[in-house]
Amino acid sequence: MKPPPFRYHDPKTVSEAVGLLASLENAKLLAGGQSLMPMLNMRFVLPDHIIDLNRVEGLSYIRDTQGALDVGAMTRQRDLEFSEPVRARWPIMHEALLQVGHRQTRNRGTIGGSLCHLDPAAELVSLATGYDATVTVVGPAGQREVGFAEFPVAYMTPAIEANELVVGVRFPQWAPKHGYAFVEFSRRHGDFAITSAAVLLEGDAAGKITRASVTIGGMGTVPRRASEVEQAIVGQVPAGSFFRDACESCRKLEAIDDVHAPASYRQHLAAVLSRRALEKAHARLLEAHGGSPR
């Protein structure tokens, strides 16, 4: 298995990369290569040009700025995993990253690559959905920002034009005392999740939920916010089977059938995993407020 023949370009700047994108037909951007390289080796893609972003300057950074985390598109997953600000203020990202592939792939894999590849089961895609991250895109006409709710247009298809390049992502920060959990089911550690649940909760010391984000990954063609669950739990103080009942609505979410699992199984997992993630996130929320997990 060898990649098919292509012309290779390794621009040093973003504008050089954008210029190449505008002038070349059938070009593919190469970021960390953990998805594109296997696809090349298996000849699932046959680009005439590869534009390698690994030597482009200024695309790898993690900045903790005024209530948001700014991450350069070529930042390696490993650098996010080991980042102290991420661990302290975006802890769900650390928890999710430990389930992204393996050390060898996280050392190369980039956040921009993951988001643009847009696998509906990818952990980082779920997080961007849950945080409603903002993606910064550069093209011939300049720079624009895309909210993550509008970023996936179809299965593995981001809302960027063929001559545009993702340069960065912004994740807003939740309250310093928030609850979080990333829970997934996969057959082997490091595999893409069959289904996953990402939960962020804000609330008070009494356990009342004031803000919630619940994202189900691996279900449909793109990750989805379980908005019915979010609406059902905000303003409530969970007790008894509250989360279990609230998560039943996940069984109605659209799900795909594939070799890994039928739709009905994914819907079952969505209800179970979202409940587990909510319970874990709520326990952490109470803990953050100095209370004891119930």
């Binding site: 298995m1 060898k2 990649p3 098919p4 023949p5 292509f6 012309r7 290779y8 390794d10 290569g33 953990q34 390289m37 296997p38 090349l40 080796n41 298996m42 590869i50 390698d52 690994n54 490993r78 592939g101 393996h102 050390r103 060898q104 792939t105 050392n107 190369r108 082997r188 550690h189 490091g190």
Partner: protein, 172 residues
């Protein structure tokens, strides 16, 4: 349409300059052009981990990189792990003593993966070791002896940290 480039890489402390076709993977370059056949190719699409090398001290799958991407970078392969031709690295010694390999096909990738892992995490738990090698497939051992060997190697390296130096590190 055969585009080539001239590249310079440091492999196991030794500098190589060569001309490569741009579509050649780093794994094929290491094996076929440098003749370092210790790096093994199993699946060639990033699943088995046999081709793992250290790229600028970080483990990476060499089948998922292009040789041109290595221009100007530093690589460690399994050949560069032992401190000298007649002495094994403590990790290799532990694999030898604990029967941490049978056919040995996956071993180069597992050793390079663990060199990085033990450097970052010198006192791992059994569970952490199992997660560290989760990206490496072994079809002979059932992993048990690999885990035992790794924990023993970690103990030896903690006792004598100087031994963790690889041949390549001593040379450079």
């Amino acid at each position: 349409m055969k585009e080539t480039r001239k590249i310079a890489v440091t492999v196991n402390g030794k500098r190589y300059e060569d001309e490569v076709e741009v579509r050649v993977t780093l794994a094929d370059f290491i094996r076929h052009q440098l003749g370092l056949t210790g790096t093994h190719l199993g699946c060639e699409h990033g699943v088995c981990g046999a081709c793992t090398i250290l790229f600028d001290d970080r483990s990476a799958r060499s089948c998922l990189m292009l040789a041109v991407q290595a221009d100007g970078h530093d690589i460690l392969t399994v050949e560069g792990i032992a401190p000298s031709p007649d002495k094994l690295h403590p990790l290799q010694q532990a694999f030898h003593e604990h029967h941490g390999l049978q056919c040995g096909f996956c071993t180069p990738g597992i050793l390079t993966t663990l060199i990085e892992f033990l450097r970052d995490n010198p006192d791992p738990s059994e569970q952490e070791v199992r997660i560290a090698i989760s990206g490496n497939l072994c079809r002979c051992t059932g992993y048990q002896n690999i885990v035992v060997a790794t924990l023993d190697a970690a103990k030896r390296l903690r006792a004598e940290p100087a031994q963790s130096q690889t041949n390549a590190a001593q040379r450079s």
